[in-house]
């Protein structure tokens, strides 16, 4: 257990602490300890966490349950980030993010699950900041821009954080074009867009020329494409995963997109050219490519490895996406291969003990079966991006150690098919 609840007067069980919160205990070791203030209904608790080893989300969850004396109560955790947004904590990633971004205090808000769920959204805390007295948390730059927004963007309660989209190759594309990468794997959201034939106007040396083109005709509400905000209706599709679509029919482009749907990279000419990335200064500054995400991707779920919207010019993002772009070819090698181990041995046991082997044989009749399949973990769980990619690259091997035949057991097949994790590898 790396968590250590620092005994404080405030955390005495049963005592009302609302007044004591004003008197801050001076911290002697502010560098490696994070001050935590958690609120459940009307009660506050204060304690500290080790900054460099805060442990996992589950442990923290249990700690809060004991501190607030609510064992067995299902709760949702939220924290106030530096911009004053109320963001959820429900896995190791966002817990670590919360701890690392505590400045200096980590504010935890606990709500019962049965209650009306809290709305996680940008700006959500600021609207009630007067009541909470969060003015101290408000940072100057981004906070003020947020407050100018009319409505905060809604963020659903995420189960896992993952990247769902990115803008890539900004440095090599013309400003009028945008190359968008949609990460389908792991999500259950539909890609959610439609394409159509249309006429595109090109400027050629001979003058303006009308050529057939393929355009986005519709975005499905709640789909991946819409939620990224990077694709819009009437955007012209120029390339699909690096292949020019000029001269291809609508059906061909459809097939190309479907074939690449798990890792779709579309180069579009947005119908709305006002949100284009303007190259500031020289093209050599790699940082620019990272910054483009900020324009449209504020709505994308925060990714653990992508910078927060405010922190611009992160060169890591740029290089990261390029690296992924290079490896995309390998992405779909994740064909699932189930091996039946009872097959493998051409061993003595099999030969000598024919009775036993007969049991393993197949026949049209069904036999009772009892075995469990070792299921792969959802690959998008909490691994750093690079590892996640590697995992999906290599073919997953699931060996049935039990040694029972899998084929006759139709219901076991069923359970495996229904398991989304296997399917969406």
């Amino acid at each position: 257990m790396v968590l250590s609840a620092v005994p404080q007067p405030a955390s005495q069980p049963g005592s009302r602490m609302s007044r004591q919160q004003q008197q801050r205990t001076p911290l002697k070791h502010s560098d490696n300890v994070v001050e935590v203030k958690s609120k459940f209904e009307a009660e506050y608790r204060r304690f500290a966490l080790k900054r460099n080893g805060p442990g996992g989300f589950r442990e923290f969850y249990r700690l809060l349950q004991t501190i607030h004396r609510i064992p067995g109560v299902d709760v949702l955790l939220g924290y106030a980030d530096i911009h004053g947004d109320l963001l959820p904590i429900n896995n190791d990633d966002n817990f670590h993010k919360a701890v690392s971004s505590a400045n200096p205090l980590l504010r935890i808000i606990i709500t019962k699950k049965e209650d009306e769920p809290i709305v996680f959204a940008t700006n959500s805390l600021q609207r009630r900041k007067k009541g909470l007295g969060l003015t101290a948390l408000r940072t100057t730059g981004s906070g003020s821009t947020h407050s100018r927004n009319k409505a905060g963007l809604m963020i659903g309660l995420p189960q896992n954080f993952r990247q769902i989209s990115s803008i890539i190759d900004v440095d090599i594309l013309p400003e009028t074009h945008r190359r968008v990468r949609l990460h389908k794997h792991g999500t259950h959201k539909p890609l959610g867009f439609y394409i159509r034939d249309g006429v595109s106007v090109r400027v050629t040396p001979q003058g303006v020329e009308k050529v057939p083109g393929v355009f986005i005709s519709r975005l499905v509400r709640g789909g991946l494409a819409e939620s990224t905000g990077l694709l819009g209706v009437n955007d012209e599709i120029l390339e699909v995963n690096g292949i020019d679509v000029a001269g291809k029919t609508l059906d061909q482009v459809t097939d190309m997109m479907v074939a690449n749907s798990h890792n779709l990279i579309v180069t579009v000419k947005p119908a709305n050219q006002r949100n284009n990335v303007v190259h500031r200064g020289s093209k050599t500054s790699m940082g620019n490519s990272g910054s483009v995400g900020s324009a449209g991707s504020t709505s994308s779920a925060p990714s653990h490895d992508s910078p927060s919207p405010a922190s611009q010019s992160n060169p890591i993002t740029a290089s990261n996406s390029i690296a992924e772009g290079d490896s995309d070819d390998e992405d779909d090698d994740g064909d699932l291969i189930l091996e039946n181990d009872c097959l493998a041995p051409f061993d003595s046991q099999r030969v000598t003990n024919s009775n036993n082997t007969n049991l393993n044989r197949d026949s049209p009749s069904n036999r009772p079966h009892n075995f469990t399949v070792v299921r792969p973990l959802p690959q998008s769980l909490s691994l750093p991006n690079s590892i996640g990619t590697n995992l999906s690259d290599s073919s997953m091997m699931i060996s049935n150690q039990n040694g029972n035949p899998t084929h006759t057991s139709s219901s076991s097949q069923e359970s495996m098919r229904e398991d989304g994790n296997i399917i969406t590898l």
Binding site: N241, I243, L250, Q252
Partner: protein, 964 residues
Amino acid sequence: MMKFRFRRQGTDPQREKIKQELFAFNKTVEHGFPHQPSALAFDPKLQLMAIGTKSGAIKVYGAPGVEFTGLHKDTTAVTQIHFLPGQGRLLSLLDDNTIYLWELVAGAPREVVTLLHFLHPLLLLSATRVTVLLLLRSCDLLCIGTEGGGVYFLELPRLTLKDSQTLLQDQITQSLPDDYRCGKSLGPVESLQEHPQQPGKILIGYSRGLVVLWDLSTRQVEQLFLGKQQLESLVWERSGNLFVSSHNDGGYSVWTVTNGNTCNQQPVSSTIPYGPFPCKAINKILWRTTQTGSPVLLYSGGMPRASYGDRHCLTIQQDKEHVTLDFTSRVIDFFTVHSIEQEKEFDEPSALVVLLEEELVVIDLQNPGWPSLPTPYLAPLHSSAITCSFHISSVPPKLWERLVNAGKAQQGRQHAHGSWPICGGKNLAPPPKQQELLLTGHEDGTVRFWDASGVALTPLYKLGTANVFHTDCDPCDDPQDPSNDPDMQQEEEWPPFRKVGCFDPYSDDPRLGIQKISLCKYSNKLVVAGTAGQVIVLGLSDERSDHMVDVSVVDLLQDREGFTWKGHDRLEPRLKPAPFPPGFQPLVLVQCLPPASVTAVALHAEWNLISFGTSHGFGLFDYHRRNAVLARCTLHPNDSLAMEGPLSRVKSLKKSLRQSFRRIRKSRVSGKKRTITTPTSKVQEANAALAEQEDVAPVQRRIEPRSADDSLSGVVRCLCFADTFLRDGTHHGPTLWAGTNSGSVYAYALEVPGVGSGRACERGGAGESSVCVEAVLGKEIQLMHRAPVVSICVLDGRGKPLPDPYEASQDLAIAPDMTNAHSVLIASEEQLKVFSLPKVSAKTKFKLTAHEGCRVRKVALVAFSSTAQEDYSEHTLVCLTNLGDMHLFNIPALRPQVRYDCIRKEDISGIASCVFTKNGQGFYLISPSEYERFSLSAKVITEPLCSVQLDRPLEPTPLVKPEK
């Protein structure tokens, strides 16, 4: 992303040269019967026959193997063809009023006539429509009859109009008696016929009934024949003393031509053969004299309107002999083959050739009873709609001989052994090096065996599977039953009908339709699978046999609950022993439950195993021990469509329809079908196009990955047997592979007694106890992209496909490399992928859809031999995509080699019907009745090589500009 650019292979000149020696794309021959024929002609001097089609094609046929094709620039229907006898030239009249002159010219290699070249078109007299053409025997003048009644004359071969000769109706009307004239026009010119003895005199027949004998040199009316009935056609008697006219009322009249009598009021005789009730018109009549006695009279139509008005008939009459040939499709045109030498006194017709809409029928007029002759080409492939096909290269001579004999036994009764009357030209093609067999499965449950070794696709043998079942149709339909002879039954009937031809578009029971065929050429075992889940294993026998067929039922659903099949019932097996003629005779019938259409079959005759798949799952059956080894359900629980079977609309109607009506199968999608455009229809088309542009919302396509619960995900797409390494890297054994519509691949290790790794010996005493074939699931592969698996093939240690069963064990092929690791090639609709074995990991792949935007439809592994080096050959993966193009990849590296456009992408049935041979050729349907044969190999090409002896040089005539 840059990688896509880098993937392009650099052009290695060495490799490019090898590629040129291996691959070349050619469309070589069209097999079968031309779709929608519209014109027929015969050159009695060269003995060549020409057929024109509605799509503007002209095909010339002579002796078997002699074929030429020409295609008009516009796809307009050819309405008439006329040979310039002996010259190798012909004139074609199109529906748009143009005349083309064609000629045979020498092709590139040798003095072989390979092509029809058209010389020049002539747009004629746009004001009036051409109705008939007459080419004078001297071949220097073309007479053109028109709708307006005028006759125009063109000089040949320049096709220049001789204005001074033009004969307008006024000139004729002047010489008519007043009571006949009565102020009306004479109508269009219906017929032009040259006097058989006196050149320069032509007979002109007008629609109203007037016939005029016109002298071209004096430009005078020689004689008038004042017919009162609307005229349909005219024919001269050989001597020129009389001619016959046929009429709209179903009658014909005989007129005598006697000198000096300028105006004939009445014909010598007038007959309505099928009267007295109103009859349909006699469209064409021929009068042929014979030495032995009465002339032979041949005419089409004339049937009593009320009772037989819908029949397509042609009557042959001589004395008391009278036969009404009853065809299943419309008569387009007909001609007789007869003596043409001027000095002979009689016609002596030897054969009648009738072009019908769906087939060509030839009647032997020399043998009593006028039997029909089998056609060596132009076979109606579609006598019942083609549902699948299968090709076998290098058929062993023994099997070939037995098939030929079985086929002869079938035909013997029906056909006389007269010689083929159309025998012009010389076939120069060398005899085929090997025998090739094309099997077509049909909707009526028959499998036809065709000799596909050469240019002419000829029928060898026909296998029916309907007699395995108890069907609604009458059991005495057995073709072997002599009491069923139509001649005997219809003795008393008038008209004396005789059914002729084999085109039969009716299907008694759609469930009988054949879906998949597999034949083992070494063991002569045939597997045929059909629409109602029936899988029949047949063996070849030279003796007639009456036996019961063993029936097994395999439930592919197993214990799946909650699914009900709402489609058709399974076929009821016949309970009594049935007589089976020599040929392939059924041994075992396996019926899948639910009785969905079989989507894949595999046969391994060495292991006595068949495997079959439907939309519900797949099964493995040991036909030697007659027991089911395995049944595996591939259904996804959400897939309700597969369970319920065909659409409800069909099923509710079907049952009652089946019992009461026979179903007419309309021609399926036809690639060449085009409507004849008239000015009005063009306007309508344009309007329709405009209307469409305005109010139809743009077509949009959803972009979504394939998901597990797409409907029909459980359809089994391919099955394959292989002797390979599935368990471990050291012991190989029989395996079964199955691929589904949703990208799942199942690999089973099979335990076949006496086969594989010498296991039987090791087992020793245990061998007796386990005599059954057993199957254990070894691997399951779920392709991530979930595209349908089109094909699975195991490659040996050298990366070559495994040989067929028996080939290795009987030293008929190079033994597969079993020392190095095997691999499996899985082709899905989107990707080609090679996985290592026994540990399944991806080795190489090619993402075709991601790159080209096309989907794989058909895949074949083909051995291409080089034109340069005798012994060099490469195994290549040939892929036909949904865009109709061929992609060739080397294996196992899957590097793209070449790409050819082959089929129009709109021609879905063409793409679906494509079948490849093992040496780089292929066939696909260009119409319901025609296979296009193509070749991807630079070496193996089957194309017509023939010559025709002409009395002119074979160099093309210099093109002359037409003058209006």
